[in-house]
Amino acid sequence: MALPQAKLDATEARLAPLRLPDGAAWARAAREDALSRLRAMGLPGPRDEYWRFTRPDDLNRPDAPPAALHPGDDKPLFSEIDRLKIVFRDGVFDAEASDDLSLEGIEIERLATATATDIHWARDLYGTLEQRGQTPVARPFAALNTAFATDGVVIRATGKVAKPVHLCYLHEETDSDAILHFVVKVEEGADLTLLENGPAAARFNKCLEVEVADGAAFHHVRAQGRDHERRAVTHIFARLGEASTFKSFTLTANGVLTRNEAFIELTGDNATAHIAGAAVGDGTFHHDDTVFVTHDAVNCESRQVFKKVLKNGAVGTFQGKILVKPGAQKTDGYQISQSLLLDEDAQFLAKPELEIYADDVACSHGSTSGAIDEEALFYLRSRGVPASEAQDLLTLAFLAEAIDEIEDQDIAADILGRLEAWLIRHRKD
C-alpha cells in the first residue's frame, strides 16, 4: 500500500541528513534492510492509531530540538554500586571515562568493531529482533535506529557476570542527536544485570535487542531524568528461551517527550518476563509506555506494572498488550497501569489490550486513575506527619508495586532515593 505523500515527504526529510555507517557486508545488509522497512512504513503521522496519545513531531523533524544541560548530580545514580561503567557522551563512546571492558563471564565490544567483523555472534541478532517486533505493529524509530545507529556496544554474557554493566549517558551539547544501538545475548544459564542512566542527548533514539537463552536471566534497571527538555524514543526487543527470566524496570522523571516501547516474546516454555515502570512528571511532561508481550510457549508468566504520578499539566500514556498465541497454554499474564493525579491539570490516557488464542490461560489487566486518598492523608497528619511528607509517603506507596519489581535491594534503594529526592524538589510548598 502506498504511503500518503505527506508521510513520504516527512520520512525523506528525516533521512536527508543521515548516512548509513560503514561495516562488514552483513551489517551493511542489516542496515539497508532496516532502511527499506522504514521507507515502507514511513514515520508516524497524526492518523496512526499507535501514536494516538503521543505526537511524534519532535522525533520526526530532521534536527533535534535543543535541550538545556543539567549540571549533574553530586552523587550520580548507581555510583555506590560495584559495576562496569560504559560511558557515552552525546551518543559517542568515551573510552577514557569508561571502565576496562574486560570482565569475567562477559564479552563487550563497541558496535563499530563488532559490525566491522565478518564473522560475529551479533550478526544473528542485530536488527533481527527489531524486525520481529515490526509486526503486527510498525515501530519506525526502531527501524531508523537499526539503519543509522552510530554507536553502542554488543554484550555477550556466558556465565554469572561478576557485576552489573552500566550504560552511563552524558549530555554536553545542547542540540546533540544520538542514535545508539545495543545488542545483548545472555547465553544458556548465564545471568546479567544491565543498568542505564543519565541524560544522553538533546534527542535520543535508543534500541536494545536482548536474546535471553534457555535458563538465562537478564535484569535491567534504567533511570531517565535530570534533563527536562529531553526528547527520547527507546525500544527494547527481547526474545526469551525456555525457563529464562527477563526483568526490566524504568524510572522516568520529567522530560518533554519520552516514548519507551518494549516488545517481548516468550518463545520457550516456562519463561518469565516482567516489565515495570515508575514515571513522575511535573509540568511539561509527556511520558508514553508502549508495551507488547507475546506468549508463544507453554506455562509462561508475564507481568506489566506501570505507575505514573502526574501533576501540573503532565501527561502519561500507556498502551499495553498481551498477545497469547494458539497453543500458549497455562499462560499467566498480568497487566496493571495506574496513575496518581496530584491535581486537576494532569492527564492519563490508557489503552490496555488482551488478545488470546489459547483456552487454558489466566490473564488479567486493570487500569485506574485516582487522586491521593484524603482519609489516609488525614490519618498520617493526625499522627504528626506534615502534609507534604504524608503526601510523599502515599505517593511512594502508590509506586511501590512497580519498584518492588527491582530484585536487587541496593539498586532498588538507589532508585527509591532518587524518587524521594524528586518528590521533595517538586513539593507544592
Binding site: 486518598d373 484524603e374 482519609e375 489516609a376 488525614f378 490519618y379 498520617l380 497528619r381 493526625s382 499522627r383 504528626g384 506527619v385 506534615p386 502534609a387 511528607e389 504524608a390 509517603l393 502515599l394 511512594l396 506507596a397 502508590f398 511501590a400 508495586e401
Partner: protein, 251 residues
Amino acid sequence: MLKINNLHVKLEDEDKQILKGVDLDVPAGTVHAIMGPNGSGKSTLSYVLSGRDGYEVTEGTATLEGQDILELEAEERAAAGLFLAFQYPVEIPGVGNMTFMRTALNAQRKARGEDEISAADFLKLIRAKAKELKIDADMLKRPVNVGFSGGEKKRNEILQMALLEPRMCILDETDSGLDVDAMKLVADGVNALRDAGRAFLVITHYQRLLDHIAPDVVHIMADGRIVKSGGPELAIEVETNGYADILAEVA
C-alpha cells in the same frame, strides 16, 4: 488540659450545624467520657479537635494547655500533644506500619525541636511497646492496618498512642467492633498510660468500655451539646434506662 468553650461547628459544604455550643473542661490526670445517641455530634467533636477537613467552626474556642488548637494544622495539633484513636483506623497499602510509626514519631520530635530517634533505638522502643499490647512482629511489618482484624486495628491505635505519648488522648468509639477479650487488652493499654500529666476523652455508645476504663466524669451529648454531666453512675443510668429518660429530663 483541654478546654472547649461554646463550640459551634457546621459542615463546610452544607448548611448543617452539628455542634451547637459545646462546653467541656478536661483537666490533666482525668478521664472524661462522652456518651450520646447516634448523630449527637460525638465523632464530629473528635474530628474537629484533631483537625480534619470539611468542618467549619462558626463560634467558640478550643485550647490545649492554653494554646488555641483550632488555628493549627492537624500535624501541629499532634505535635502539640493531641491524639485521636480512630473509630475506623485507615488502611494504607504500601506504607509499612513500622515506617509509618517511625515517620510519625520523628516528625513530632522534629516539630518540637528534638533530635530524631535512630533506627536501632526505635526498633527497641517499638518492640517493647508492642509486646505489652500483644502485637507481634508480623503486624509491625505489614502495611498500616491492611488485613488487620477489628481488634488488631484498635490495638494498633493504642500502640501508636503509647509510642507518641500524647498529653491529650481522644478515643473515638474504640470499643466498637471489639470482643470482650480485645476490649480488655485495649483498656489495659489505655490504663497503663494514665498519669497525672495526661488526660483522656473517651467517646462511646456503651457503658461496657467504661467498666474497664473508669472515668472521672461522664457527659451526655445530644443534638450538638453536652446536656448533662455527672460521675460514673451516669453511665450506668444510660446503660440501664437508655438515653430517652435523660433527654426528656433536660428537655
